[in-house]
């Protein structure tokens, strides 16, 4: 059998261009959108009511959050470039998906993020510089997940989706009304753990919301390699609702997430949300997107920038004026300066801490190795002293 019989699981330029045009939210009727790209609000019978409470102040708040997390992201990229962070996964372009969903959650809901959910972290009230400890190489966590119900970043793709379901099963047993929210990417959606998590969630009708940010790329691999159908359609195969939402529309994401949380909270079981968005920058600071994607695609998505879209609305509806945007800019700069100072002050832990954190209860092997390590290090200190006194 020759290669001509094989399907191309790979994208090619034409396919890519086609997916570019068909990826315009306006062309996709099945996609929920409340704030059109021209900055006007749309009616939506099902989800509109879930955005009705968003008054001027709330909308300005959504803008502010998106702006702040973008500014934070820029600062982290700069810190990485200056050698202050070992690497950084930027969220540029995904602000609406994260701020829209994060602001829909209640305090007792629990978030299981991947490694790019900086915006969700902001909505949970996390100290942003805490997120940078992992990327500065001083911690593998950086915060107490229980304080803000925001779990540690998980780097093994999709592993946390099962934790989210387990947590939801716990909430269910305890009769609590919290919802567990699992964030993951379009690439991660191919991992077996996502399938198993959906099976368990459906089997138990657990209060969990699966929030997939389809940013079109898993490093260099386009979504088409992971799924031939909208990812949200997969939910029906498991027996729960799936919704595709314009992920660059903060109002729609917020509304759809509120609906999903209410659904899960009221005992009706899981929901899958696919936020259709785009990673406008590199996958991480170690990545070079010019190797795998067209700049035309990036340009097309730049026009759909979630911040610009809300700004258009805020201005045209006289909800915000120049002074508001100036104030937000100043706030952003202050926040960035604070984050920078905090990062520069972050020093490495002592090696001893690495020994002390392995087990919750004492462990003789660790104790033995720690004792060896301390004696070994002391040998150098003695040698140094001897050297100095010479």
């Amino acid at each position: 059998m020759g290669a001509e019989h094989l399907p191309t699981s790979e994208f090619d330029i034409e396919e890519l261009e086609q997916s570019m045009t068909s990826s315009d939210p306006a062309d996709a009727p099945e996609m929920v959108q409340l704030l059109a790209s021209d900055g006007t609000l749309r009616e939506d019978v099902q989800y509109g009511p879930y955005a009705a409470h968003l008054d001027g102040e709330a909308l300005r708040g959504l803008y502010r959050d998106m702006f702040l997390v973008r500014r934070f992201d820029q600062e982290a990229v700069a810190l990485q470039r200056q050698g202050q962070l070992v690497m950084w996964p930027p969220l540029l372009g995904q602000e609406a998906a994260q701020i829209g969903s994060g602001t829909a959650l209640q305090a007792n809901d629990y978030v299981f993020p991947t490694y790019r959910e900086h915006g969700v972290a902001l909505t949970r009230g996390l100290e942003l510089s805490a997120l940078l400890k992992l990327f500065r190489g001083v911690s593998s966590g950086g915060w107490d997940p229980r304080e803000k119900n925001f779990h540690l970043y998980t780097l093994v793709l999709a592993a946390q989706t099962l934790h989210a379901v387990g947590y939801a099963m716990g909430l269910q047993r305890d009769g609590e009304d919290g919802v567990s929210v699992a964030y993951f990417g379009d690439g991660a959606s191919s991992e077996g753990d996502v399938h198993e998590s959906m099976v368990f969630a459906a089997s138990n009708q657990s209060p969990v919301v699966f929030f997939c940010q389809n940013n079109h790329w898993a490093i260099s691999v386009p979504t088409e390699v992971q799924s031939r159908i909208p990812l949200s359609n997969r939910a029906s195969g498991y027996g729960f609702p799936g919704i595709r939402v314009d992920g660059n529309d903060v109002v729609a994401v917020h509304a759809v997430t509120r609906w999903a949380l209410e659904h899960a909270r009221s005992g009706l079981g899981p929901v899958l949300i696919e936020a259709f968005t785009y990673r406008m920058s590199a996958h991480t600071t170690a990545d070079d997107p010019t190797k795998y994607r067209l700049s035309a695609e990036e340009d097309a998505w730049r026009d759909k920038d979630p911040l610009k879209r809300l700004e258009r609305y805020l201005r045209s509806s006289n909800t915000a004026d120049d002074s508001f945007f100036e104030e937000v800019t100043v706030q952003g700069d202050e926040m960035a300066a604070k984050v920078r100072a905090e990062v520069l002050a972050m020093t490495g832990p002592e090696m001893v801490q690495s020994f002390n954190n392995v087990y919750a209860d004492p462990h003789p092997l660790v104790a033995e190795e720690l004792a060896w390590h301390l004696e070994y290090e002391a040998g150098f200190a003695d040698a140094d002293e001897a050297g100095e006194s010479n």
Binding site: T8, V138, L157, S190, S220, V221, Q226, Y292, P349
Partner: protein, 324 residues
């Protein structure tokens, strides 16, 4: 003779095997247009096409499991795992299926799948990017495990792995990807599944592999300045282990130190220590010592220098050994 990095030597080796065998195919995450996150497969998709260099969906169990099926059809899949810490979603397929298929089928089936895994620390990265899981695989019968330490071996070992009728895991020392050296493209020198004495000596033997071979050689050099002659063995193959080469060396030197980045507890070093105690008990003048990682998850970048075996730790062990 050609001078190249380990990474480029693997690329060149892969190119050779793809040219020589139309059934060789590469599969993995981001190995196509991007050429892999370490660019080891760079240019190969352009050269051999998308059906032979396949960007798979993001699923390690899927990559290994489908490679097994492809191997049943006569293909020679070479799977790339992006980072050591991300092999585990595929661990089930590797240990329960890939490793056992020959035995389970009474020898009727074989699964000549190659799995390439960049491994080890020293690159200052975040968690799951610096692991040394070789012992977890070495404990599983049915798998062969090799690890090159220089470009020449990298070029040949990857080709020999593809030629093997058994599944082979190639652990690639990622912090040495940019290490340059001569590659003799005419002659492999020796079989991938054997060890090599890379420095002769008479007072003690250090066994190292992968990323630590240059460290062991540097320690031996430093020891020489102190008047001790140290033999260094590059293990090259972790399963099988070439105990003959180590035994011969220990008969000569009487002192053995085994070093690896992976934790010493339950590690490959323990296996070597036990075997050599059995095989060369009367030649040993000191207990076999191990210099390796601690019993902890790989620590954060800021303290990894305290975790990784370095020249000083090898010299300290050497002093202890020679003091017996």
């Amino acid at each position: 003779m050609a001078n190249m990095t380990i990474a480029k030597a693997i690329t060149a080796g892969l190119r050779e095997t793809m040219k020589n065998n139309p059934k060789t195919m590469l599969m993995g995450e981001d190995i196509g247009a991007l050429g892999g996150v370490y660019r080891v497969t760079e240019g190969l998709q352009a050269e051999f096409g998308k059906t032979r260099v396949v960007d798979t969906p993001l699923a390690e169990s899927g990559i290994i499991g489908t490679a097994i099926g492809l191997a049943f059809r006569g293909y020679r899949p070479v799977c790339e795992i992006q980072f050591d810490g991300f092999v585990f979603p595929g661990f089930n397929q590797i240990t329960t299926q890939l490793a056992k298929i020959h035995a389970r089928s009474s020898g009727d089936l074989s699964a000549p799948v190659v799995i390439r895994i960049p491994y080890g620390g020293g690159i200052g990265s975040i968690e799951h990017h610096s692991e040394s899981p070789e012992a977890l695989f070495a404990h599983t019968a049915g798998l062969r495990i090799i690890t090159p330490s220089n470009p020449h071996d990298a070029y040949w070992m990857i080709q020999q792995a593809v030629e093997s009728n058994d599944p082979v895991i190639v652990f690639e020392p990622k912090r040495r990807y940019w290490l340059k050296g001569e590659v003799d493209t005419e002659s492999p020198g020796q079989d991938a599944f054997s060890a090599k004495v890379v420095r002769e000596g008479t007072d003690a033997t250090i066994v190292a592999y992968g990323p630590l071979v240059p460290v062991a050689l540097a320690a031996a050099q430093a020891a020489e300045e102190d008047g001790n002659s140290v033999e260094v063995i590059d293990l090259r193959s972790i399963s099988p282990i070439d105990f003959d080469t180590i035994t011969t060396s220990v008969h000569k030197t009487g002192h053995l130190i085994v070093t690896h980045e992976a934790p010493t507890f339950g590690g490959v070093g323990g296996e070597i220590a036990a075997r050599i105690s059995e095989r060369a008990f009367l030649s040993l003048e000191a207990p076999v010592l191990r210099v390796g990682g601690f019993h902890m998850p790989y620590p954060v970048a800021k303290v990894e220098e305290h975790y990784l075996p370095d020249i000083d730790r090898l010299l300290e062990a050497l002093d202890r050994s020679l003091a017996y």
